[in-house]
Amino acid sequence: MKRSEILARCLVIIATLSVLVIPPAVRWFNNRQAVELHARIAETGGWTPESISAQAGTPLHLRLTSDDVIHGFAVGKLNGPAVDVEPGKVTSLTLNFDKPGKYTFYCTRWCGLNHWRMRGTIDVTGKGLVDPQPAPAPLYMTLNLDLDAPHPTAVIPVVKPSAVRGKELANAHPIIRYLIPDYYRSHSPAQVYLDLRADPSLTILKDPQVWDLVAYIWQQNTTPAELADGRQRFARNCAACHGETAAGNGVFADDLAQFDTLGTSGDNRPVDFTNPITMLGASPVLLQGKIIRGGMGTGMPMWGSIFSDDQIWSVISYLYSYHFEESIK
C-alpha cells in the first residue's frame, strides 16, 4: 500500500474517531462528580432520575437541563431559591444537606397540566445534625379530622369584616381566650363567629361587629411578613390552578374541570377560595390537612413534603385575607 494511502486512512480514522470519542469522554469527565438531572413535562416522564442519593455533609452537585419546555427546580424544606431549568441548557447547582432524610425536589414553573406531578426525591443518608426530638404529627392528624367532609357554613357576613374595627371592639370586650393559636387553628371562622355570638359577654354586639372580632382574631394569629410569604408562595405554587385571585380560575382550571388526574371525566374544578360559604366554614387545621395531604384523586397535590409547617400556616393566613380586611398590626 502506498504511503499516501496509509496517511489518508490515518487522517480519516483519526478525525472520525475524534468526533465519536472525544465528546462522550468529555461528558463523562464533566459528570463524574455531578448528577445530571433531566426535566420533561410529567406526561412524558417528569424528572430523570426521579430518585437521587446523597450524603449528609457532602455537597451534592447537580447539572439540570430540560428536554422540552422551561422548568424550575427547588427542594422542599430546604432554604434555597428555585432555579430555572431551560431547554437544552445546563444549570449547575450545588446542594448541601445538614440532616439525613428524604427530601422532595419539584418543578417550580407551570410547565403543563400535570406540572405538580413533576417531583422526585433525594435520599440523604449518613451522619448529620439530628433533631433533639422527632417532629410532632400535624395538628389535623392529632384532631383526627375528616378532610373530605363538606364544610359549608350557614353564616356569612353581610359586609367584609374588618380587623381594625375588631381591634377597637376587642379593647372594650376582651376576648383573650379566643385569641390563643390552638383555638384559632381548630375552629373555622364561622365556628368562631357562632362561639362569639353565644358568648353572654358579647350579646350587645351586632352581627357585623362579631364578624369584625373574627377578623381581629385572624389578624392576631398572623403577621404581615407571614401574609407576604403566603401571598408569594400561593402565587408561585397554587395560582396555576386556583388562579391569581384565588377564585379557582387558574390557567389549568378548565382542563382540570374536564378531567381528573386519573384520566376519567369528572368535575375537578379547583376550589374558589374567595367563596365565603366554603372558606369561612373551613378551619385553619382543615386547610392544613388538605394542603399537607393533597386532594387524593383530584388535581390537588400534596405539599407536606415540600412546605414547612410555618410556610403552610402562611398560605392559610393569606387565604383568609380574601375574607377579612387587612390592617397594620
Binding site: 489518508a8 487522517l11 468526533v19 462522550p24 468529555v26 461528558r27 437544552g88 441548557k89 445546563v90
Partner: protein, 446 residues
C-alpha cells in the same frame, strides 16, 4: 460566453490534487458523523442541538442561498454521505488501487435509471419534515439511514448509484444546478472522439471513471455532473474545463424528461406547502403536519400529494395546452409539457430562496449557541452558548423575499420565451401560470 477557471495553474492543481479534496471530505464526514451522534445522544431540544441547527438551518442556508445558486452541484462535490461506501467499495481512500475491483459492482436497473426514485424519496422526507426538522432523534436517525443506504448501495451497485438515483437532496440540487453560473465541460469534443479507452468514463491509474455515470463529452447540462473532478484527473488530453458562465445557461436547452418535469413541480409545491405550514399561523395545520401517523396527518399528507402531483401539474398542463391551441402547434403535448416545465426551475429556486430567507434569518442565532454547546451538555466552547435568540435583518427580509420572487418570475418568463422559440407554442399561458404561482408564494410568505 464562458470563462475557464482551470486555465489558472493553481486552480487546476488544487482541483486535480486529491489531498485538498480529502481534507474537505474529512471535515465534512466528521461533521456529518457528529450530527448523527448529536441527534441520537444530544439534547432532544431542537434549537439547541447541532443535528438540527447545523443541518437544517446552517447547512440548508448555505445550500439553498449560496451553494446551489452559485456553484450548482458544488455541495455534491464535498458531500460526505457517499464517501464511506465508496471507500469501502474501492478499497482505497485516495487513488485507485491496482487490480482492486469494486464489490458487486452491479449495474443500476434500467427501469430505475431516472430520478423518479429521488422524487419519491424527497416527497417522503418532505411529508415527515416537520418532525425530521425539529426532532433531533428523528433527524439523527434519518441522517444515519441515509449513510447506511449509501454504503449499501455502493457495495452492491456500480459508481455513485445512491447520489445519482436515490438521494432526496441530490435530485433537486441537480435540477437547480442548471441555473448556476458554474459548469464542467469538455473543451474540445473532437479530441474526445479520438481518445482511446475513454478514461474519463472508464477510469485509469490516475483516477476513477465518472462516479456519476456521466460521459463527460456528452455533458450539455449540469443536472447529473457531481463536480467530483475525477474526469479532470483522468483526462490524458487536458480536455476538461471548469467554466464560469451566465446564470441559467442550461435552461436555454429545455429538458424533455417527465421525471425532471415532475421534480420541478415537487419542488415548487413543496416550497408552497412549507411556507404555509412552517411560516404560516394556522395552528391546526401545523399540528396536523406534526402529528405523524394520526388521521389528521394522513389528511395533510394526502392533501399535499394531491396539490403537488395533481393540482400544480394539472393547471400547468392546461396552460401548455392552451398555448398549444393558440399557436396551432403540433409538438406532442408530452414533450411540450416537459419542455415548459423548465420554466419552473428559476421560479422554484427563487421560491425556496424566499422561503429559506425567512426561517434561516429567524433562527440563525441558534447557530452561535449550538456552536459552543453542540450537544446541549452545558459546554461553552467559544463563549457563545448563552447568546440569546433574536431574528436577524428583520427589516430586510420581506424586501429580499419580494425581490427574489419577482426576479424568479421574470427569469421564468424569459425561459418560457426561449422554450417557446423551440416548441413554437406561445408562452403567455405559462407566463400567467408562473405569475399566479408567484402571487401565491407572495401571499404565503408576506
Amino acid at each position: 460566453m464562458r470563462y475557464e477557471l482551470t486555465r489558472f495553474p493553481l486552480v487546476k492543481a488544487v482541483l486535480k490534487n486529491r489531498w485538498p479534496q480529502l481534507v474537505v471530505y474529512t471535515v465534512m464526514l466528521s461533521g456529518f458523523l457528529l450530527a448523527i451522534m448529536d441527534g441520537l445522544v444530544g439534547t432532544p431540544v431542537g434549537n439547541q442541538n447541532y443535528a438540527i441547527v447545523f443541518v437544517w438551518i446552517a447547512w440548508w442556508a448555505i445550500l439553498i442561498l449560496a451553494a446551489v445558486p452559485f456553484l450548482g452541484r458544488g455541495w455534491c462535490a464535498v458531500c460526505p454521505i457517499p464517501l464511506p461506501g465508496e471507500w469501502l467499495s474501492h478499497g482505497a481512500i485516495l487513488a485507485p488501487r491496482d487490480g482492486k475491483k469494486p464489490w458487486l459492482n452491479l449495474r443500476w436497473p434500467n427501469r430505475f435509471r431516472n430520478i423518479w426514485s429521488q422524487n419519491i424519496t424527497f416527497l417522503l422526507v418532505a411529508l415527515f419534515s416537520t418532525v425530521v426538522l425539529t426532532t433531533p432523534l428523528v433527524s439523527g436517525g434519518v441522517l444515519a439511514a441515509m449513510l447506511m443506504v449509501a454504503i449499501g448501495t455502493s457495495l452492491v451497485f456500480e459508481r455513485r448509484a445512491f447520489c445519482r438515483y436515490l438521494c432526496p437532496v441530490g435530485g433537486f440540487i441537480g435540477l437547480y444546478a442548471q441555473a448556476a453560473p458554474l459548469e464542467l465541460r469538455v473543451k474540445n469534443r473532437d479530441r474526445c472522439v479520438q481518445c482511446a479507452g475513454k478514461p474519463c468514463y472508464n477510469g485509469s491509474a490516475a483516477g476513477y471513471g465518472c462516479p456519476w455515470q456521466v460521459f463527460p463529452p456528452g455533458l450539455t447540462r449540469n443536472t447529473y455532473c457531481g463536480l467530483c473532478m475525477e474526469c479532470l484527473r483522468t483526462c490524458p488530453h487536458d480536455n476538461i474545463a471548469l467554466n464560469l458562465r451566465p446564470f441559467g445557461a442550461d435552461l436555454e436547452k429545455p429538458s424533455r424528461r417527465m421525471d425532471e418535469a415532475f421534480k420541478a413541480f415537487i419542488m415548487l409545491g413543496a416550497a408552497m406547502i412549507y411556507a404555509l405550514v412552517l411560516l404560516g399561523t394556522n395552528g391546526t395545520l401545523k399540528s396536523a403536519a406534526y402529528s405523524v401517523g394520526s388521521l389528521t396527518w394522513f389528511g395533510y399528507a394526502v392533501g399535499s400529494l394531491v396539490f403537488i402531483l395533481s393540482i400544480l401539474p394539472g393547471f400547468f398542463w392546461v396552460s401548455v395546452r392552451m398555448g398549444q391551441l393558440l399557436s396551432g402547434s403540433i409538438d406532442p403535448m408530452r414533450h411540450a409539457f416537459a419542455a415548459f416545465a423548465t420554466t419552473l426551475v428559476p421560479l422554484g429556486l427563487m421560491s425556496w430562496i424566499a422561503f429559506s430567507l425567512s426561517f434561516v434569518l429567524t433562527n440563525a442565532t441558534y447557530i452561535l449557541s449550538s456552536l459552543s454547546d453542540p450537544f446541549g451538555w452545558g459546554w461553552n466552547l467559544f463563549g457563545t452558548a448563552g447568546i440569546t435568540w433574536q431574528p436577524l435583518l428583520t427589516t430586510l427580509v420581506i424586501p429580499m423575499q419580494v425581490l427574489a420572487l419577482v426576479g424568479g418570475l421574470l427569469w421564468s418568463i424569459r425561459i418560457a420565451q426561449k422554450v417557446s422559440a423551440e416548441t413554437h407554442i406561445t408562452p403567455l399561458p405559462v407566463a400567467i401560470y408562473a405569475t399566479m404561482a408567484t402571487l401565491t408564494m407572495l401571499g404565503l410568505i408576506l
